[in-house]
Amino acid sequence: MFDIQKVREDFPVLRQIINKKPLVYLDNGATTQKPRCVTDVITDYYLRKNSSIHRGVHFLSSQATVEYEKARETVSQFINAKNKHEVIFTSGTTGSLNMLAFSFGEKYIKEGDEIILSEMEHHANIVPWQLLCERKKAKLKVLPFNDDGELLVDQLEYLITEKTKIISVIHISNVLGTINPIKKIIEIGHSHGIPVCIDTAQSIQHVPIDVQKLDCDFLAFSGHKLYGPTGIGGFYGKEKWLEEMPPYQGGGDMVDEVSFEKTTFNQLPFKFEAGTTNYIGAIAMAEGINYIQGIGLSNIADYEHELLEYGAAKLKEVGGVKIFGNAFARTPIFSFHIENVHPLDTGMIFDKMGIAVRTGTHCAQPIMQHYGVDGMVRASLSFYNTKEEIDYLCTGIEQVKRMFL
C-alpha cells in the first residue's frame, strides 16, 4: 500500500481553498491533477534546455531529440508495445481517434462498409467515425449495454458481417465506470479478421495495460488524464497497420523528399507526426508515467478499488441517490442523480462546498439517451482521493436534499 498523505503532498492543487472550503477534487474523469515533478520537468525544459527537435546538429536540439525519443520509449514500455515506433505522439485521445478514423478510413473503408462501436462511447469515439461514414457512405453499428452498464458482448457476433472493417470500443466508461471485457471483444473481432481499437482515455491511468497480451490493434489516450500536461496524447498501432495506412496530417518531418510533383513520406513513427510536435508535452507526460509507475499501477488499482467499494456502500447508505451503472467490474466513477433534483442544482451547491464534480452529459449523450435523462452528476476519483472525501461528498448530498426536497 502507499501513503496517501504523502501522495497528496505531491499535488499542490489539492491544498487549494475554494469558496472558503478545502477543495475536494472529484473531477478526475475530466482531467487529473499534476504532481510537482511534472511541472518541474516542464519548467526545467523551457528555462534551461528548450530547443526544437528534428535531428538538429546543435547540442540543445540533439538533447531534446534524445529526451523526446526517451519519452516514446517510456510510453512504449508502459503499454508494452513490441516496437517503439508503434507509439505516435498526438494532441490527445481525440486527436488519436481522428487520426485513426481518417487514415484507416482512407485505406480500408468503402461505400457500404460497416464500423462497430458501442452504445457507451465518448463522443471522441463516435463523431470521427460519423464524419468518416458520411464521407465514405459507410455505416455505424452499435453494440448496446444493459441497465447495469454492461456491454452485451454476446451480441457482437450478430453485429459482425462481411462488411465490418473495424471495431472501436471504450475500455473504461467515463460515465459508468464499467471496465469492459476488451480482451474478449478483441478475440471476437480477430476471429473474423477484424481489427479492434480501444479508447483507454479512462483506463490507462487506473489499470495496467499490455497491448501485446491484449493483442489490440490500436489504442488511444490523453496525457492530461494521465497526470501529465494538456495538448499531448498517445496513439498505438500495430506496425502492420501503420505501415499500410496513409499519413493523416502533412508537414515538416513526416516527409522524406518533397517536391511539388511528388512527395515521399518518412518512416514510422515520424510519418504520423507532422510539424513541430509537442515535445515538451511528451517529455512531461513521460514524467507523469514515471511518477505513477513509481507508486505502482497495481497499488493504484487496489487502492482505487477500495475507494470504489467504500463509495458504493456509502452512496447506498445515504439514500435518495440513483446511481447509473452497476457493472461487476468497474472503477470509482459514480454518476448519479439525487432524486428529484436537477444535476445542475446539485453541482452548484457542491461547488460552494468546495466539491468539484462534473454535471451534464459527459460527452456521452447516447448513455443519457439510454437512461432517458438530460444529464448526471459525476464524481470520478483518483488515487489521491480519500475516504474522508467520499464522506464529505455524502454530506454534500444530504445538504442538497435538505435544500431542495
Binding site: 469558496n19 433534483v341 436537477h342 444535476p343 445542475l344 442544482d345 452548484m348 451547491i349 460552494k352 454535471t359 451534464g360 438530460d374 444529464g375 445538504q399 435544500m403 431542495f404
Partner: protein
C-alpha cells in the same frame, strides 16, 4: 410601482443579510416559487433558451405599453435567478428594459452564474429579454 433602480436596490438589500452562499441559494430556491408561471403552451422548443445543461423557457407579452415576461426552468436555482430578473424587468416599457444596466447581479454575487462559461443559459435569457423589448419597441414604440 417602484422604478427598476429601486427594485434592484431592494434585491441588493435583501441579499445583504446573507452571510454565506447556502443562505443565498436557499433564498433563490424560495424565490423560484414566485416565478410567474409560463403558460404550458409556451413550454415548447420554440420558446426554449438552451444552456448547456438547464433548459429555460421564456415568453414575453406586450400589454399597455409594458413588456410582461413569464418563464420557467427545469433547474431550481436558475429559476430563482430568473424570478429576480423578471421582478426587475417585467411590466416595464421596452425603452426602460433596453437601457437597464442589471448591476444588482454583480452586487449580490451572481455574476459568475451569468457568465457565458456557465451552463445555465441565463446570459442568453437576458439577451432574449432585451431582444423582446427591442422588438416590441420597433413594433409599438413611437420613435
Amino acid at each position: 410601482m417602484s422604478t427598476i433602480k429601486e427594485v434592484q436596490e431592494d434585491i441588493i438589500n435583501e441579499f445583504e443579510v446573507f452571510e454565506d452562499w447556502m443562505d443565498r441559494y436557499n433564498y433563490l430556491i424560495e424565490l423560484s416559487n414566485d416565478l410567474p408561471q409560463i403558460d404550458t403552451k409556451f413550454k415548447t422548443n420554440e420558446y426554449i433558451i438552451k444552456g448547456c445543461q438547464s433548459k429555460v423557457w421564456l415568453n414575453a407579452d406586450y400589454d399597455d405599453g409594458k413588456v410582461v415576461y413569464t418563464a420557467d426552468s427545469d433547474a431550481i436555482i436558475t429559476k430563482g435567478i430568473i424570478s429576480l430578473l423578471i421582478r426587475v424587468l417585467s411590466n416595464r416599457s421596452p425603452k426602460e428594459i433596453k437601457e437597464t444596466d442589471l448591476h444588482f447581479i454583480d452586487a449580490i454575487g451572481l455574476r459568475e452564474n451569468l457568465s457565458p462559461t456557465r451552463a445555465n443559459g441565463l446570459l442568453a435569457m437576458i439577451k432574449q429579454m432585451k431582444l423582446y423589448a427591442i422588438a416590441y419597441d420597433v413594433k409599438f414604440g413611437n420613435n
